[in-house]
């Protein structure tokens, strides 16, 4: 399988701390890959580097064979890379539906012509048929996506996001990412802070997405979920890759065990994951 | 100094009460139907002190006139609307005045900018706008209903230039307030000075809220002037004068008439001594109109009057004469201003308007110099030029 996304020699330093150290990995179309490792291992930083929110000191990121590590975040999103955030970032003052529609931003072709901002403004004020149809299509897509979450979000379509429960906000984040119709989905600890029931629901949804062929890169701490869902797993510690392979291999790798055991219960590590 | 603290607190309370009550009117009873003059001016805001000075002058004149029975048996009264000298407000006040048939003439506003914003309203409606402190050369060009007894800068600044050259100065450095007033004055002054044979070696404009002039003075010093001319108001004039002395410059200073105020001496301290200036109103002048006014003012208010009190007083006296000779119809008032002659005036002696410019010609000037912390008439002694 050709790699959809490749990361080669990716490095990022913050002052004296090397958050990501010459990282190499790849993910093929349709694969489900997970990044695991203790806190401070550099996982979220890697996501930031891949999605354009941060700039690497060296190394490259290839998406579809094309180098993207120097592109702006919005350009990378337009190429089909969607992500969620470690602590969840929804647009608090926007309704649930509006949140999801922002996800569809790159797909509103008629609404956002290449002709530039003035044309876009004119279209927004005038709203010819093409624009209205474009919007209607995206709106029905959005509703369909929201419906995937059962009745968690649908009855709250016009509630402001800040009024949602924590779990619903995480769900909304994923709905929003899906509205982008991504070719690669980066999920950063989607079940953090959720109770077992919620976690199970989320796992089921992610499993569905996997079965539909979506290429997914997951950061998670719940190792049983990781093992059940992933095709391959990479283990990071201190910014370096210490293990890689199918779940069973990685689970029994002594270096991995040492990394987890050796670090649990010891005092806080310097926070290398500075940015969201 | 404690006196002015307390009196200004009294003024605050009085102003508070007055402001809460209806717009200020002078209370004069007796006789027939009132003749109402509309006044647009600052009662509050940064120029509030000038509005207060106007009122003192107005009230003094009204007492005299109404005490003698008013004009043909009708008492005069003014209605003072607070504009804060803000063009947005003068426009609103203008609308109010022109649509009130009881108002026969408008007096004010304080600054030319504020007045000019409203001129078109007065002109279109046919109500005389009498900007008695508006010295902008373009003010009266607003139309034939726009009049002023204020000495135009076009008249005043050449006199300052003359004084400066009479003092023997040939190389002039000019510091001027960078507002429309200051700019106009500076241009007129420089042109006049050149025509009298002097040379302007430096011209520096400064912002109204500027406090620090040291670097400006270095530029000035480097131009090697015989004299530093200040086109300033008293507060900034005082600041500059002090800094000229404190950086060690001994150059003589000539300042325009706006610095003629006890405040200038208070704020400038010792630096005020030796400053030359001129004024068209000097309480010490022996002329009967001046002495009459000064004596009555002192008796009523227990202080010396300044130019603002004087022009306000003059304006009421003028208007009373116009009403008496030409009636109180708005258009007749306009025509009357063009025709009236030799009105007794504190500032002018006898005032007559030039119908072309709609201003009074021939203001008198008194040359002054500050000696021992007081303004005194110039004794004719030319300074040694260094």
């Amino acid at each position: 399988m050709a790699a959809l996304c490749q990361v080669r020699g990716l490095t990022r330093r913050f002052g004296g701390v090397t958050a990501v150290d010459a990282l190499d990995f790849e993910i093929a179309q349709g694969e489900f890959v997970s990044l695991i490792g203790p806190n401070g291992a550099g996982k979220t930083t890697t996501f930031n580097l891949m999605s354009g929110l941060d700039r690497a000191d060296s190394g490259e990121v290839l998406f579809d064979g094309r180098r993207i590590e120097r592109l702006a975040a919005e350009r990378i999103a337009a190429l089909g890379v969607a992500r969620t955030f470690q602590h969840g970032r929804v647009f608090g003052n926007l309704s649930v539906l509006d949140n999801v529609l922002i996800g569809a931003h790159t797909r509103l072709r008629a609404t956002r012509p290449w002709a530039g901002p003035v044309a876009e403004l004119a279209l927004a004020l005038w709203r010819p048929r093409s624009v209205r149809e474009d919007y209607a299509a995206r709106e029905s897509e959005a509703r369909a996506i929201v419906a995937r979450f059962g009745d968690r979000l649908t009855p709250r379509l016009d509630h402001p996001a800040h009024s949602l429960s924590y779990a619903n906000r995480r769900r909304l984040e994923i709905a929003r990412a899906l509205a982008l119709k991504p070719r690669l989905l980066l999920l950063d600890e989607p079940t953090a802070g959720m109770n077992p029931t919620e976690t199970a629901e989320m796992e089921a949804l992610i499993g569905e997405l996997k079965r539909e062929g979506l290429t997914i890169l997951l950061i998670e701490h719940k190792l049983d979920m990781v093992m059940r869902l992933s095709d391959r797993v990479y283990v990071l510690d201190d910014g370096k890759r210490i293990a890689a392979g199918p779940p069973d291999e990685v689970r029994n790798d002594p270096a991995v065990i040492e990394a987890y055991l050796g670090h649990s219960g010891v005092g806080r590590r310097p926070q290398a994951e500075a940015a969201e | 100094m404690s006196g002015s603290w307390i009196s200004s607190r009294r003024a605050f309370v009085a102003g508070l009460l007055a402001a809460v009550a209806a717009p200020s009117v002078s209370a004069k009873a007796a006789g027939g139907e009132q003749i109402l003059l509309g006044v647009s001016g600052p009662l509050t805001g940064p120029n509030a002190q000038y509005g207060a000075q106007w009122k003192k002058g107005f009230d003094l004149a009204l007492d005299e006139i109404n005490g003698k029975g008013g004009v043909k048996g009708r008492p005069l009264q003014y209605q003072f609307e607070d504009s804060q000298a803000d063009p947005r407000q003068t426009v609103a006040i203008a609308q109010k005045f022109v649509s009130d048939p009881k108002i026969v003439v408008e007096l004010g506003d304080f600054s030319s900018t504020a007045s000019m914003a409203a001129s078109s309203i007065y002109q279109r409606a046919g109500l005389v706008q009498f900007g008695f402190t508006n010295s902008h050369p373009n003010f009266t060009k607003g139309g034939d209903y726009i009049w002023s007894s204020s000495v135009s800068q076009a008249d005043e600044t050449p006199r300052l230039a003359k004084y400066t050259t009479e003092l023997g100065f040939k190389k002039l450095a000019v510091l001027y307030l960078n507002t429309d007033w200051g700019r106009t004055s500076q241009t007129l002054f420089s042109n006049a000075a050149k025509s009298f044979g002097a040379e302007v070696v430096a011209a520096e404009g400064y912002q109204p809220d500027e406090k620090d002039f040291r670097s400006t003075l270095v530029r000035v010093r480097d131009a090697n002037p015989d004299v530093i001319v200040l086109i300033s108001y008293y507060a900034d004039g005082a600041l500059i004068a002090r800094q000229i002395r404190s950086v060690g410059l001994k150059t003589p200073i000539v300042a325009n008439g706006s610095v003629y105020s006890p405040k200038f001496i208070e704020l400038a301290g010792d630096a005020a001594n030796g400053v030359y200036t001129e004024t068209n109103f000097f309480p010490g002048e022996p002329r009967p109109e001046v002495q009459n006014f000064v004596t009555k003012f002192r008796a009523r208010y227990n202080e010396d009057p300044d130019t603002f009190n004087a022009v306000a007083y003059d304006t009421i006296v003028l208007m009373a004469q116009v009403f008496d000779q030409f009636g109180t119809d708005r258009t007749a008032i306009r025509d009357g201003l063009a025709k009236i002659k030799d009105v007794p005036s504190v500032i002018f002696g006898k005032a007559t308007f030039d119908p072309e410019t709609r201003r009074v010609a021939g203001a008198r000037a008194v040359y002054l110099v500050v000696k021992d912390g007081k303004f005194a008439p110039w004794d004719g002694v030319k300074p040694t030029v260094n």
């Binding site: 702006a72 919005e74 922002i102 931003h105 800040h162 | 509030a48």
Partner: protein, 607 residues
């Protein structure tokens, strides 16, 4: 090169004076993450307290300084306790707005009590001078330098080496963690405000003595220059504030040397913008840890906008158009015309600051650009107002966006400072570019509005024209708001990072918002120019900018109907009740404070 030395010395001397205020500002910022716009007011009050002490109690200099320090320290603690502490946990810009409101209130109180007339503040020091180059310095310069340097040194030592200093720095880094560690966070903040304000008050006293001049309007300029110095030095860095002040003083001095006195402030603000764009953390600011939660640049309180049914809005509009038939008094119509023009400004601001999250403290600059564009076209080039007004709108749209563009990537208080400075720069450029704008003389004889050959001059006609402009713009803005662009703007307001991660080109949309908003403001300025018939660089000033912010917040940030309501309330009502004119600014300050504290979502709720 004698003069070069003199300019350098003078630059250092004035920098010295700026430093006194800057150190206090830096301290407050360092601890409370707040640019305290009320610091200048405390400075002014210090000068007046000192004046009172000298005049009534005849105290010697040292005692006067002590009295001023105590009085202003108490004032600072009170400010913190009453106005700022209750705002903990709100949007970052809430305390900043509160300090602006406070500055209005305090300045006006001083003016009401002490009169606007400047007073002398004589100093009791010996009269010698030391010659340096062509100029000299005296004991006051030495005293100011002494106070500035020693207070900076003391504060620096205090912060670095004492227990309370540690507590202060910990609180600045992370309030909650500090509280967990047992730090009395409230006490710390109080103490810091007290110290900074004491220093601020003493600065006012010393500077007042230096120039022998105190007046109630001292504060604004002082604060502005102090802010510039602090940004250059690195906000929060106390010794940096001194370096920043000296650098500012030198820049101004050399600017005067090269170009003349009128360019002084232009240099100061250009320096500020340069730093904000290139080195926002200043010379010594160092890297701050990246914010975990999104740092919004505006003032949004989450709320539900009041749902006003369209039929009600339509009825209000119809009523407004019909009003001249019921209430023909030209005076009232004039008052309402002013309100509609203010409403256009408020609409413009509420779009960028409310919907798009770009607070703008210099919005009056857009009025000035529009006003001048139309005035110059009509007066100097004979263009009919029918054409010049819309053209002015377009010019404002383009130029305004270009000017504010460098500020797009700034956050929180930096946007506030940058936009304030840009507003001042517009005014200064207008003043200095004489050949084009007529400089201080202004533009006279601006022709009245006209459509084809009909002059629009009656109160009624003007009323309808401006109301029509307002309604048209409001409708367009509503349409924009309900479109995808509106949604996108609100998204990037809430969280730029999340927005970008979903393909939103944030810069493009901010520019779009400003472009649209600039048109409305430009038209308002243009119409005003034709109504006033005279325009100069002071016609649209910074006070108007701050009033615009208050109007928008009063109505509810982002709320279109709210903007109009805010304008009518803050511009129309005071004009209608003219007896309150003296207290107008005071009222604005109180309204702003009350809104920020008790009802940040305004009357109609944020959108």
């Amino acid at each position: 090169m004698n003069s070069f030395i003199d300019y350098t010395v003078n630059g250092l001397v004035i920098g010295n004076v700026y430093a006194l205020l800057a150190v206090g500002l830096a301290l407050i910022f360092g601890v409370a993450n707040l640019i305290n716009f009320a610091h200048g007011s405390v400075y002014t009050i210090g000068a007046y307290v000192g004046w009172a002490a000298i005049t009534f109690l005849h105290t010697p200099l040292a005692v006067t300084i002590l009295i001023v320090a105590l009085a202003c320290g108490a004032l600072g603690a009170a400010i913190e306790r009453v106005a700022l502490r209750p705002l903990q946990g709100r949007a970052r810009i809430a305390p900043l707005l509160a300090t602006i409101g406070l500055s209005f209130v305090l300045d006006q109180l001083v003016q009401l009590i002490a009169s606007p007339n400047p007073r002398a503040l004589p100093v009791d020091l010996p009269d010698w001078r030391i010659s340096i180059g062509g100029g000299s310095v005296g004991p006051m310069d030495i005293l100011i330098a002494g106070v500035g340097l020693s207070s900076a040194a003391l504060l620096y030592g205090f912060l670095r080496f004492t227990k309370l200093g540690y507590a202060v720095r910990a609180t600045a880094q992370d309030r909650d963690a500090a509280r967990q560690m047992g730090v009395n966070v409230d006490g710390v903040n109080s103490a810091v405000f007290a110290i900074a304000s004491a220093l601020g008050g003493v600065s006012g006293l010393l500077v007042g003595m230096y120039y022998n001049h105190i007046d109630p309007a001292m504060s604004f300029q002082a604060t502005l220059k102090g802010v510039v110095a602090v940004v250059i030095g690195g906000v929060g860095n106390v010794p940096g504030a001194i370096v920043g002040s000296l650098l500012l003083g030198l820049t101004e001095s050399y600017g005067i040397a090269l170009f003349g006195t009128t360019y002084r402030n232009l240099f100061a603000f250009a320096l500020l913008i340069l730093f904000l764009v290139v080195l926002p953390n200043g010379l010594f600011g160092g890297r701050r840890a990246v914010e975990a939660e999104p740092m919004t640049g505006t003032f949004i309180a989450p709320s539900r906008a009041l749902r006003v049914p369209p039929s009600v809005v339509a009825a209000l509009a119809v009523g407004a158009f019909a009003l001249p038939f019921a209430l023909p008094a030209p005076y009232m119509l004039q008052v309402l015309t002013n309100s509609w023009l203010a409403g256009l400004l408020a609409l413009s601001l509420t779009l960028v600051a409310g919907a798009a999250g770009q607070m703008s403290f210099g919005h009056a600059g857009l009025l000035a650009i529009g006003g001048y564009a139309s005035a110059l076209l009509a007066t100097d080039y004979g263009v009919t107002p029918l054409v010049s007004v819309p053209v002015a709108g377009v010019v404002t749209s383009l130029l305004g966006t270009a000017l504010v563009f460098p500020a797009f990537r700034l956050r929180g208080h930096y946007i506030a400072i940058a936009t304030l400075a840009i507003g001042e720069i517009v005014s200064l450029v207008i003043l200095n570019w004489e050949s084009f704008t007529h400089g201080a003389m202004g533009v006279t004889g601006i022709p009245p509005l006209s459509a084809l050959s009909y002059a629009v001059t009656s109160a009624r006609a003007v009323y309808w024209l401006t109301l029509a402009a307002l309604v048209a713009f409001a409708l367009l803005q509503a349409r924009l708001s309900s479109s995808h662009i509106g949604r996108t703007l609100r998204a990037l307001r809430d969280d730029e990072i999340a927005a970008r991660s979903h393909g939103v080109n944030v810069t493009r949309y901010k520019a779009l918002a400003f472009g649209f908003a600039g048109f409305g403001a430009g038209v308002s300025g243009a119409i005003s120019a034709h109504l006033f018939s005279y325009l100069n660089n002071q016609t649209f000033d910074s006070q108007l900018s701050l009033l615009a912010v208050t109007m928008a917040i009063l109505g509810g940030m982002g709320n279109i109907l709210g903007a109009v309501v805010g304008a009518v309330a803050l511009v129309g009502l005071p004009e209608a009740f003219r007896f309150a004119a003296e207290y107008r600014i005071l009222i604005y300050g109180v309204v702003l404070l009350a809104l920020v504290r008790f009802r940040p979502q305004g009357l109609l709720g944020t959108v």
